[in-house]
């Protein structure tokens, strides 16, 4: 460790500007994102001081944005200092290397996956900060005569729509819907899928065949049609969309978890736990499930991207959150009525969807390689 002990200069540099110490210490992979993150957060109050000052008295969204604006830079600062001190051997790591640390180390060596991770982090930040970042109001209709269908320009970087609303602002606000739905729906589907898969795999026999036949039925049904069916019949609202997306995606997780549990069940440590007379719940929760978390995390990451595409698809068919709430799918659909005259309307929200989904897919692929040494 002693040869890694470097001078105090990087630490002082990092204290002033997180990430700079990593850059000086020759770790640009960590340094650049930290520095970029820190600087972009600092830039917001500089460029949007009026709105930051008004935020404490504003709506809940404004106040959440303000909290994000304060807390995230502090976290960046703390993370950067800690990581630098540990690197230099000035502070001891909290614990010995766990399997998650090992996976994280492997993940760091994959530039593509890390890029995906940073894109996703940036998107969540953007979603939380939308009220401070959006140049215009995403919902209020403006002077339709003068401002509708304006091509991209300095004032409206991505153009305006039929009602003269700024496309960039709508995309920024739309990020909240997409990311929130993607995250919550996937959380539901992963929980349900893991539970069903674990039960089927662990108990086998009748439980297994009953649950898996049911899974087959759901799998054989083209998912989009099931989604359209349910959303159209129950009137689209945030709750309905999240529940429906969450409760139709679980079969993928179920199959993976069941397969893993089937083989885990026969392993010595599970047999031992059972021989000790532990209850089934305890064996499943404490001994079996921790060993299936890795593939579940990968499925979940890929699943979020998938869910975002599906949500956009529903919105595109008019089955998403109802206007004027900005959602990316609805924006693409709105671009359909004047595709030739206002190409920017459908193009930019779609590109945003592609970017987000690409980020989740790249990260998911990277996680699979990092978490599952068997695949290497």
């Amino acid at each position: 460790m002693s040869e890694r002990r470097a001078g105090a200069a990087p630490v002082i540099a990092s204290a002033l500007m997180p990430g700079l110490g990593h850059l000086l210490g020759g770790v640009p992979g960590t340094g650049v994102p930290l520095l970029v993150g820190w600087l972009s957060f600092l830039a917001i109050p500089v460029f949007a001081w009026d709105r930051v000052r008004a935020a404490p008295l504003g709506s809940l969204d404004d106040r959440i944005a303000l909290i994000t604006l304060v807390v995230v830079p502090l976290l960046i600062w703390a993370a950067s200092m800690r990581s630098l001190l540990v690197r230099q051997g000035r502070a001891r790591a909290r614990h010995t290397e766990s399997q998650w640390d090992i996976a994280m180390r492997r993940l760091r060596r994959k530039p593509l996956a890390m890029a995906g991770l940073w894109v996703i982090a940036a998107l969540y930040a953007v979603a939380l900060l939308a009220p401070l970042l959006a140049p215009h109001d995403p919902i209020a209709q403006t002077d339709i005569v003068r401002l509708s269908y304006r091509p991209p320009s300095g004032e409206f970087p991505l153009g305006t729509d039929r009602f003269g609303r700024d496309v960039l602002s709508r995309i920024l606000y739309g990020a909240r819907i997409s990311l929130a739905i993607g995250f919550v729906a996937t959380a539901i589907s992963v929980t349900v899928g893991t539970a069903i898969g674990a039960l089927a795999g662990y108990f086998g026999r009748f439980v297994d065949s009953a649950l898996m036949r049911f899974t087959d039925v759901v799998l054989a049904f083209p998912r989009l049609i099931l989604l359209i069916l349910i959303v159209a019949l129950f009137q689209p609202s945030l709750t309905v969309i999240i529940l429906v997306l969450g409760l139709t995606q679980w079969p993928a997780t179920t199959r993976i978890v069941r397969g893993e549990v089937l083989s885990l069940r026969e392993r010595e440590f599970v047999q031992a736990a059972r021989a000790l007379g532990f209850r089934h719940t305890r064996v499943i929760v404490r001994h079996v499930l921790p060993n299936v978390i890795a593939p579940v995390i990968v499925t979940a990451t890929l699943g979020i991207g998938n869910t975002i595409v599906l949500e956009a698809g529903l919105a595109f068919l008019g089955l998403g959150l109802q206007p004027p709430t900005p959602t990316w799918g609805e924006m693409v659909n709105a671009g359909r009525e004047n595709l030739l005259g206002a190409w920017w309307l459908a193009t930019f929200p779609g590109l945003t969807i592609v970017t987000v989904v690409l980020a989740f897919n790249v990260l998911g692929d990277g996680l699979r390689d990092a978490l599952d040494p068997r695949l290497r």
Partner: protein, 327 residues
Amino acid sequence: MSAYILRRLLGAVPLLLGIATLVFFVLDLAPGDPTAFYFSPNVPPEVLEQLRINYGLDQPVHVRYVKWMSEFFTGNFGFSFGKGRPVADILIETLPNTLILTGTSLILVFVVGVAVGVWQAVRQNTLADGLLGGVSLFFYSMPSFWLALMLVLLFSLKAHQWGWPVAFPPTGMTSVDYDALGFFGRLGDRAMHLALPAATLTLALAAGIARYARGQMLEVVRQDYVRTARAKGLPEHTVILKHALRNSLIPVITLLGLYLPYLFSGAVFVEYIFGWPGMGRVIVDGILQRDYPVVMATSFLFAVMVVLGNLLADVLYAVADPRIRYE
């Protein structure tokens, strides 16, 4: 083999019953009822009540379930509320159109996907491999409805505006003057109309197949029999195309079967956007109009095609790989 097929067919029966039941109860649990379609201040409530009786909606749920199931499986799909025609007629009209679209796309997905994947595998870790991998991932992450719109914008509308030599038609299956064309004219007209919808479906799915085929090919190339083939002094293209390719195709067949639900889901968007007169459009219209019989029959038919497609994939798998025996 025939015993295996028979067993799988029999196994599919409870699956299809389950799907039909699922459809029935999803629609039954939904709030509102189909006579809302006719609701207006000019229609007296007695008429609506009479409509409910005519449609059999006043019966208790188990009666309707049994009645519906028995009719359904004897081929009577009922009468469309919205279009006022037998559902079977609508399906007979639209099913071939959907099959043309999805069938063409499926073949293209297989050919393009495998070709790209093999090309990449042969040039593993070169710039071309990396670029194609990136492009595949890009298309793989793309929502099909957006891809469709971009294709329309570029290759139909802008192509027309900028006077490109070829501008594909943005909607429909045939031109207005279709009936006046000769045989080859008709064929060409259909191909022109099919190009963009099929390209949309193909690009997204072929990207996934390419990613998989590449991995599969890299796996197979490491096998002993490929080394043997090379050791015999066979030219490299024979080794790749005859010895390695055929073996790496086998799992791709199964993957194609698993892709069928995505294909049909994609077809719903594509038919909606391109005005393609297929089942995808019928089902979207049916759902929005609460046309229950149409929705039930169409979604059931989609599910049947998925189940049969997977069965076919399993059978092909057994044919392609003699090591697999289903006894």
